[in-house]
Amino acid sequence: MNIFVCIKQVPATETKIKINGSGTGIDTTGVKWIMSPYDEFAVEEALRLKEKNAGSTVTVFSAGPSRIAETLRTALAMGCDNAVCVDTPEEIDSFQAAKCLAEAIRKEGKPDVIFTGKQAIDDDCAQVSQLLATFLELPYATVVLNAEYGSGQITVKRETEGGTIEIIALPTPCLIAAQKGLNEPRFASLPNIMKAKKKEIKTHPMASLGVTDADRKIKLVNMQLPPAKAAGKKLAGDAAAQSKDLVKLLREEAKVL
């Protein structure tokens, strides 16, 4: 099987956010970069599928500036066979990212399945999976909790509100966007980490794939930290007094009821 995975490098979840000078992004000084956590589920699922189908390969793709090589190597260390990188400027939008990935994928051949994470934890757009699938004219399912692999078909369970689960049958080739709980991502062993350091990563500059600034649809501007909240007040008195007081405040002061 030809298995593809798309990943994104993002700042570590606990990074303290500082806005850059132009308000279009964060200040990346001292930021620790990681693979977006949902993408880890995608990589793990790809590897498990490979292990169940002898002779399969897993190719991992990512689009971003040169620092993303480190994250591609993490994917290689987990067990991916090949890595492809699209070199882009620091700021691109979901549309451009999806187009880069689509073109890079077209150059690599026809996949049986593409795995992605449901959203990247930096911009939280949750668009690239669907854009990519639509560009490649592949059926897709997002927020996938579980996948069962049959011949020429993958049956997935999708999570929606209130715990409701949709069960969808997708013919291959298709795209699956992983939700937390799809699997437990493996921890790369030291020998694999060492091997991954030496592997070659195929690189395409963004322009060479025909993606330009003109493809951009969205710009983020005026990025700010949320306004600091005024200090809260602790209500005095016994439980009865506190309850009365709270209801009054919520109605008259906060005006939420």
């Binding site: 949709e166 983020l220 809260g232 439980a239």
Partner: protein
């Protein structure tokens, strides 16, 4: 007059409140609110959409679209776009909406602002504000591509206009020309609770490890019952201890919610929980420990025993809200 095309989401014959919010916003901006709806047996739904203030409804009705499918609904919505030529498209940031909207954006070749907490329709232009980095920052979205400008909007972010009982919208039937579909919906398994999901509720009452067991959550359910449009959530500690299933979990590894009112009962307020509710408009904390970190983010704090306070609060709310 600019046209705003809105995707209506409905469940079991009732339109979801978030649809009303989107319609209201379009109307407030003085735009023509056209609502797309797909499904089976839409008469009651179409009526409700009219009462919510929709000017027109484009309904794709039939067995073929009984279940949501991004392929079918995507194709039909694009057909509706072609026939209505909107400048702005608003879709709820629900599971369905978030799954579907980017597909439409790809098919139309336009930009999409995801999961917005604020939008401003100005003539044919759209300004949107959205949280990023799990709500640690916010940013405005500038559309630099062609129309229509798309946005998915978070439930409870926009206010609902008054309903107009008796008002009706002109309904146009859309032909079910979905084309050949590749994927098939095999089944939809309803969750154990048919109640409102925490991500969609206007008020969330959450319990932590201090609830001590699953049965005690009943007092939170009772509180939720007297509060309109509310749901019960749980911290990770409570879910791990088995007091409530994972679908209730609010937090970094659970659901991110931004209700108007979040009442945290017996929740210490560890960073991981805050990540899931910090964007709530008003936060109330009830905890025995005066030093609990939750008090640092709460607008109103009650230091006390939740088992004493919550029932009293339920009584007070009942009295006040009737």
């Amino acid at each position: 007059m600019a046209t705003v095309l809105i995707y209506a989401e409905h469940k079991e014959g009732k339109v979801k409140k978030v649809t009303h919010e989107l319609i209201s916003e379009a109307n407030r901006a003085g735009a023509e609110s056209v609502v797309f709806v797909a499904g089976q047996g839409l008469d009651a739904v179409n009526k409700e959409l009219g009462e919510m203030g929709a000017k027109r409804v484009i309904a794709a009705q039939g067995d073929a679209v009984k279940f949501y499918s991004n392929e079918a609904y995507g194709k039909l919505f694009v057909d509706a776009v072609k026939s209505t030529n909107p400048s702005v498209i608003l879709i709820p940031a629900t599971a369905q909406g978030k799954d579907l909207a980017p597909r439409i954006a790809a098919l139309l070749g336009v930009g999409l602002a995801s999961d917005c907490t604020k939008i401003q329709i100005d003539g044919e232009k759209l300004k949107a504000t959205r949280p990023i980095y799990a709500g640690k920052a916010v940013a405005d979205v500038e559309f630099v591509g062609p129309k229509p400008y798309m946005a998915t909007v978070r439930p409870n972010a926009l206010s609902v206009g008054a309903a107009s009982p008796g008002a009706s919208a002109a309904v146009t039937a859309l032909s079910l020309d979905t084309g050949a579909l590749k994927s098939t919906v095999k089944d939809v398994v309803r969750g154990a609770t048919a109640k409102l999901d925490v991500t969609e509720a206007n008020i969330v009452v959450s319990g932590g490890r201090a609830m001590k067991n699953s049965e005690n959550f009943a007092i939170l359910e009772k509180l939720s019952e007297v509060l309109p449009n509310s749901a019960v959530g749980a911290s990770r500690a409570a879910v791990d201890a088995g007091y409530r299933p994972h679908s209730y979990q609010v937090g970094q590894t659970g659901k991110v919610v931004s209700p108007t009112l979040y009442i945290a009962c017996g929740i210490s307020g560890a960073i991981q929980h805050l990540a899931g509710m910090r964007t709530s408009k008003i936060i109330v904390a009830i905890n025995k420990d005066p030093e609990a970190p939750i008090f640092q983010v709460a607008d109103y704090g009650i230091v006390g025993d939740l088992f004493e306070v919550v029932p009293l609060l339920t009584e007070e709310f009942k009295k006040a809200l009737g």
